[in-house]
């Protein structure tokens, strides 16, 4: 099967990008040494061992989680909305997650900023993930309700931007009463960052993303049926309400948990599903879901490698790199309008 072959190639690409990503940085580490550290857990250079294990590997794993999670989340949204322009950040879902996070901070009476979630303990991070997912789900439901009344795909994008702005305004009220240094931290959060998700936080993020991906894969038959529209799906025995709930749950968990830990990461969710469809030439979700997850991982590892600005000490925020790469893809899709309705 060509599908399996492509998945195999993508797996190899993920491995290659992982080694590349770990090797790049203020201290360059040769690929052979990285493989040895990853497989044997040994290295001649103790500093290298420390850098890989404590800093770069967690960051690369976070990149894989973010890339796969957001891509699959976007893919499900595009099928659910039957709209190729749907994506977690485009429809304001990430803003919803941000609102969820802000709610925790406010109700806790804490003066801490969104950025301080990294300083929270294990139970705190579960709470944040739950609230971020709830925030995502609330916005998603709202957009879904409005989408039922719309005929034009581009208009949905506008509605998403409006709802995102509204949600961000709610956060701004809170910002308005914050200290300057907290604002700076919030601003840092909006740039997005893959670093700093280690130990317990990485475990929490990894388990939530894995669960979300499994839910998505389990929905692949329902998603395929939904490609023909709700009435056909129902006529083929699909319980549309239940299928939709599972898809919403998966999308909210993926977007919510990732946004809570890494800030908004734009355009991955909208662009990767399209690239995957173009690459595989199919709309079959049983292939698209794993392939999008892998391609999303590859792209985020690459974006993060670029963000390191190899050869310099500076590091760009990840959201800037993904936007620079993703926004042109979306513009290209809108311009090619004849093919634009294709999910």
């Amino acid at each position: 099967m060509t599908g399996r072959l492509l998945i195999g190639c993508l797996l190899l690409a993920v491995a290659g990008c992982l080694i590349l990503n770990i090797g790049i940085g203020s201290v360059a580490i040769p690929p052979g040494e990285i493989v040895r550290i990853l497989l044997d857990g040994k290295s001649d250079d103790e500093a290298w061992l420390y850098i890989v294990r404590e800093i770069r590997l967690p960051k690369a794993l976070t990149a894989i989680l973010v890339g796969s999670g957001l891509s699959v989340s976007g893919l499900q949204m595009q099928t659910l909305f039957r709209n190729p322009l749907a994506g977690p950040s485009e429809l304001g879902i990430t803003a919803g997650a941000g609102l969820g996070v802000a709610t925790v901070m406010l109700s806790g009476g804490s003066a801490a900023s969104l950025y301080a979630i990294r300083q929270l303990g294990l139970s705190g991070s579960w709470l944040i993930v739950a609230m971020a997912s709830l925030g995502s789900a609330a916005v998603l439901l709202l957009v879904l309700m409005i989408a039922g009344r719309l005929k034009d795909n581009v208009v949905l994008l506008l509605v998403g931007v409006m709802i995102g702005t509204m949600t961000l305004s709610l956060i701004s009220i809170w910002q308005y009463f914050s200290q300057p240094e907290q604002l700076q931290e919030y601003l840092m959060w909006t740039f997005g960052s893959l670093g700093g998700v280690v130990d317990d936080h990485l475990t929490v993020l990894a388990s939530v993303v894995a669960f979300g991906l499994l839910l998505a894969y389990a929905s692949s038959k329902a998603l395929n049926a939904l490609l023909l529209g709700e009435q056909y799906a129902r006529s083929m025995g699909l319980t549309v309400g239940r299928a939709r709930t599972i898809i919403l749950l998966s999308t909210s968990l993926l977007t919510g948990s990732i946004t809570a830990f890494c800030g908004p990461v734009a355009f991955v969710g909208i662009a990767v599903p399209h690239l995957t469809r173009a690459l595989l030439g199919t709309s079959n979700h049983r292939l698209l879901i794993p392939a999008s997850a892998l391609l999303g991982s590859v792209l985020l590892l690459l974006c993060d490698s670029i963000a390191q600005l190899p050869g310099t000490q500076a590091v760009l925020p990840i959201n800037i790199v993904t936007s620079l790469f993703g926004a042109p893809v979306v513009i290209w899709m809108i311009v090619r309008r004849h093919n634009f309705r294709s999910v």
């Binding site: 039957r82 083929m236 025995g237 709309s283 294709s342």
Partner: protein
Amino acid sequence: MTGIFLQTDALHIGYASRSVSGPLNLSLRKGELVCLLGPNGAGKSTLMRTLSGLQAPLKGSILLEGIPLEALSPLELARKRSLVLTDRTDPGNLTAGEVIALGRTPHTNWLGRLTPVDQQQIQTAIDLTDTGFLLSRRMPELSDGERQKVMLARALAQDTDLILLDEPTAHLDLPNRVAMMQLLHRLARTTGKAILLSTHELDLALQTADRLWLITRDGTLHAGVPEDLVLNGTFETAFARDGLQFDRQTGGFRIRLTEEGPVVSLAGPDSIWLRQALAREGYRIRADGGYLLSVEESGWKTTDGQLFTTIETLLAHLRNQLFQ
């Protein structure tokens, strides 16, 4: 009674605010092609939606092989009846082959993996609809006729004893409409499935349907063999309205135009084309009296002895003679 697949018992259809039709006691046999006809707004779509299980009946029940529709799980129902909808679906970049394979959805496991049995059923559906040459084409690239055949193949792959089609010929041109009706007629015969379709194609339905369900504007449903419904006048009353006349001789509708012009009578063999042209011009055609036209082998002869070989020149002459 054997062979009855679908039966309704004192079924009332409509919406909470408005009852559309009922009580309906209908039955649909296996191997039978039934066409549901009726003027717009009479309730064809409501009946189709209700029988499909997409809309709840107001009262009464629908039985599939004796089992009430509401007692079936969505999956059980999906294995008994399949649908082809009017609305043009936009299945994105799916190929025709993938769409047809989706018909197996109610039969496959949780991941939708196709077994050899599924492949066999898909192949049968492809063979029956002659869609083999379309399989690798993407849905947006197909013509309306091809797309409708693919959607029918998908319904066949679902392997149900009942297929409901809501205006399957609505977006098709005449040759494709005829081909679709011929295909459905053949399918009912060869596969033994019960096929119900709603349509506006009166003449095609008259020729291909084993039975007609005719809804009139007041919501009454008349069921019967097409020819009976024509001969007892039901067909005519269902569609009668000003300016439209059903011709029992030809089984077609004639547009009735104003009849206020001069009286013309015809002698010789009847010619429907001459009648049509005269009616359009506003002449009243009577058995005798008025201006006499004799139909001859070589053309049409007027009372002043002139012979015309085309209707155009004849009409021009009449205009000069009779409308001075």
